[in-house]
């Protein structure tokens, strides 16, 4: 903002220009200092300076598969799914597009043979130890791993060894269950806990092939924002207790709404199946909640169907509450 002001001041008034210049040229608009021209699959794309290639491609309508990348968190380059051939002037090389900022005349090849081979390789390796229990997984149907396996995967696995096994699932808090077999270690939940929520209660433990997300011993994942990790998990590793085995994603009907739990008014989507509210998810609203929600807002829908909820008024008769109707109850309200 501030650096455009001086230009406005020094710009000659249009009348003066017309008088002094015989050619009557239309003043060319100042080139946008934040515009960077890159080429995605040969197509010229105007990207914004500082954007990562994966974001620039998405804005241009080219989807690069990803798991760890999340627009609202720092890129970490963990899953290697978004690797493409990128030519920054020194010949094509492999680069994780979630961590490479756009540069003038950069060429990105999202469909080249090498890119395809790399993405198929990464997906085959991701699925090598994944249990593939999609039919009983809550994420089945809305799972990025499923989607990317269909669109960018090799189609079959050559992994014949025994898969990695863990106890499944383990509760890491009152609300969240963790299935480490399904986990692809994308660092989304742990990054969320660190960067966004600010309470690092879950972290990677162990190393190499045995790396797993866990809480610290005897410390549950008691975060006010734990439900967000369930929403951003790209597989069915993190599931929330209120929604477990309640519905399949394709059965849900949904409506966008405003959370009523407090005065912030986060944008949410309320999802229901068979006339019962089953889940609330955050919606990415730029000025408001960026898709995040607190656990109170996310899980308060359980009150709607609660057996403890008062359905009718009650009146006190001899010190005991007796069920009544509004016609008899209203006049007897405490004034």
């Amino acid at each position: 903002m501030s650096d455009t002001k001086p230009d406005d001041v020094t710009e000659p008034a249009p009348d003066d220009a017309a008088v002094s210049e015989a050619t009557d040229e239309v003043a060319e608009p100042e080139p946008d200092p934040n515009a960077v021209t890159i080429f995605i699959d040969g197509k010229e794309v105007i990207a914004r300076k500082g954007d990562m290639v994966i974001k620039a491609a998405q804005d241009a309508g080219v989807y690069i598969p990803r798991f760890c990348y999340h627009e609202r968190m720092n890129p970490v380059g963990m899953c290697r799914m978004c690797i493409c051939e990128v030519d920054s002037g020194r010949g094509p090389g492999l680069a994780p597009t979630c961590m490479v900022p756009v540069a003038p005349d950069m060429k990105v090849f999202t469909e080249s043979e090498t890119t395809k081979r790399v993405q198929e390789g990464v997906l085959e390796l991701l699925l090598a130890n994944h249990p593939l229990d999609c039919p009983v997984c809550d994420k089945g149907g809305e799972c990025p791993l499923q989607d990317n396996a269909m669109t960018h995967g090799p189609g079959e696995s050559r992994f014949v060894e025994e898969k990695r096994h863990y106890e499944k699932p383990i509760p890491i808090s009152d609300l969240v269950f963790l299935d480490r077999e399904r986990c692809i270690l994308c660092d989304r939940c742990t990054r969320f806990a660190d960067e966004v929520a600010g309470d690092k209660l879950i972290h990677f433990t162990h190393r190499g092939n045995q790396t797993q997300v866990l809480t610290f011993p005897d410390e549950p994942f008691a975060s006010y924002f734990s439900g967000n990790t369930v929403q951003i998990c790209p597989v069915g590793a993190l599931t929330a207790k209120p929604y477990r085995f309640k519905a399949r994603p394709w059965d849900l009907s949904q409506v966008e709404s405003t959370c009523t739990a407090c005065s912030v008014g986060c944008r949410v989507v309320v999802q229901a199946s068979q006339d019962r509210v089953l889940r609330k998810q955050g919606v990415d609203s730029d000025p408001l909640n960026w898709g995040w929600m607190c656990d109170r807002g996310r899980f308060d829908f359980e009150a709607v169907n609660s057996e403890l909820r008062l359905g009718t008024p009650a009146v006190k008769v001899d010190g005991e509450l007796v069920e009544a109707n509004w016609a008899t109850g209203w006049p007897r309200r405490p004034s």
Partner: protein
């Protein structure tokens, strides 16, 4: 004074006067690690000589010496120092003493036997590159090195070589020692910085996290290897001309190599850089004195466990980065592992791959899952339960970690042309490809040994073995 100094196995290694000795000159003394011995043998003279110059002059001196980094990549140290943005403070020096490449144990000796030389090198580097604080990261397993460096630091502080206003000048620097927890990947500079910050030792992606720009605590940081810094006292006191007089123009000075395996006299040697050949090292009287009796050289690893293997065809290559790279491998950390004809090649590859699979930090998928997959296939093949499809699969998993051509050595026997180093990779650091390097070398150079272990066949072995190339 005993001939072998602290190590009985090193008797006669460091006291022959013919070869130039820059960093191992004190190894022959039993008390080489004490301040008294260090001062009696020209210690801290380099620091005085450095302080007599301006920092820019000292920096130029190091640049002129073309001192190549000894950690593995072989990047000139003086040029590396120049990459830090000027005017940003604080700037740090981090000493990479997390030597953990299989077969490498030269830095451990430098820290155990001559810690003051390293400290003096750190001080000179801090002075020349304008760094205000030095962190000495020592690998978790090196207890003796830890003890001796700690003692040396205390002695040097007490004598006024470290701390405020060193030797009466206005140059001040602090050296902090940090004891690592023992992870191979922390030898990678960005992972080392993460570990030093108290995080999990996982590498950061370069760019943007080039340590010279965004390093320790987000500040410009120089990460140097122990051996690189140990060369600085010599350069400071004798000048760059004396340093470049040794070795070749592109690889001056000496370098330390660690030889292990089937040779008569394994150990750490200081050789003349650039001109010494692998043959000199393996068969030279002053070095390894030949392959153990009655046996012949079959293959050797020229630069640490992650380097592609060489066969006797490459014996006459010199210790110089470019020709070794063109021949399909790298000098790396200077670890030579020698295998004679009794070696079970698939098993040797399995041992190395198992190490890298175990040491994967778990960040990048190809390394985390691919390394273990390679290890499991190799384990099955070594047990004699593999099929020919397994051999083809090794290439396929490797191609998922390193797409495209993987470097390997030329072999007259097989009529192979060398594929030059380096390679493309899908991981952040070199741990992933390192798990594949020994497998690829073994499969390409000794396919018949894998064939001999295969009992079940569904397609012709030749097709399977050639399948990934």
């Amino acid at each position: 004074m005993s001939a072998g100094g602290n190590y009985p196995w090193a008797a006669g290694y460091y006291d022959d006067g013919d070869r130039p000795q820059i960093v191992t000159s004190r190894f022959k003394y039993e008390d080489s690690y004490t301040l008294e011995r260090y001062l009696a043998t020209g210690g801290y003279e380099g620091l005085k000589a450095a302080l007599a110059r301006t920092p820019a002059q000292m920096h130029d001196e190091v640049k002129n010496s073309t001192l190549l980094g000894r950690g593995g990549a072989g990047f000139p140290a003086g040029v590396k120092w120049g990459h830090t943005p000027q005017g940003t403070r604080p700037r740090y020096l981090v000493v990479n003493g997390d030597e953990s490449e299989p077969g490498t144990y030269k830095d451990r000796l430098l820290m155990e036997l001559d810690p003051h030389q390293l400290i003096e090198g750190c001080l000179i580097a801090c002075y020349a590159a304008g760094l205000s604080q030095c962190f000495l990261y020592i690998r978790g397993e090196m207890a003796l090195a830890h003890e001796r460096v700690a003692r040396a630091l205390n002695d040097a502080y007490a004598a006024g070589y470290i701390g405020k206003n060193i030797l009466g000048t206005d140059f001040s620097v602090d050296i902090v020692m940090h004891w690592g927890a023992g992870a191979y990947v922390v030898g990678e500079e960005t992972a080392l910085i993460e570990s030093l910050e108290g995080e999990r030792g996982m590498p950061r992606l370069k760019p943007p996290y080039f340590p010279a720009a965004i390093g320790l605590y987000g500040k410009p940081t120089i990460v140097n290897n122990v051996e690189t810094l140990s060369n600085l006292p010599f350069i400071a006191s004798n000048g760059s001309a004396a340093y470049t007089a040794i070795g070749t123009e592109t690889s001056p000075g000496t370098r330390m190599i660690a030889v292990s395996g089937h040779v008569k006299r394994p150990g750490v040697f200081e050789i003349i850089n650039g001109s010494t050949t692998f043959r000199d090292v393996f068969y030279g009287e002053e070095f390894c004195q030949g392959i153990r009796d009655g046996h012949e050289l079959k293959a050797f690893v020229p630069g640490g466990g992650s380097a592609p293997w060489f066969v006797p065809d490459q014996l006459d290559l010199p210790f110089e980065g470019r020709p070794v790279g063109a021949a399909g491998s790298m000098l790396g950390s200077g670890a030579l592992m020698v295998m004679d004809e009794t070696t079970d090649i698939p098993k040797a590859a399995y041992t190395l791959t198992r190490f890298y699979a175990h040491e994967s930090c778990g960040k990048c998928v190809p390394c985390r899952e691919g390394g273990t997959w390679l290890e499991r296939i190799l384990a099955r093949v070594c047990e004699g339960k593999g099929t020919d499809r397994d051999l083809a699969q090794l290439y396929e998993v490797g191609a998922s970690i390193c797409p495209g051509n993987f470097p390997h050595a030329a072999s007259e026997r097989l009529g192979l042309e060398a594929v030059p180093f380096p390679y493309k990779m899908t991981t952040i650091c070199f741990v992933g490809p390192s798990a594949y390097a020994p497998v690829n070398s073994a499969l390409v150079l000794f396919p018949e040994e894998f064939e001999a272990k295969i009992t079940k066949r569904s397609i012709p072995v030749s097709a399977a073995v050639g399948g990934g190339q």
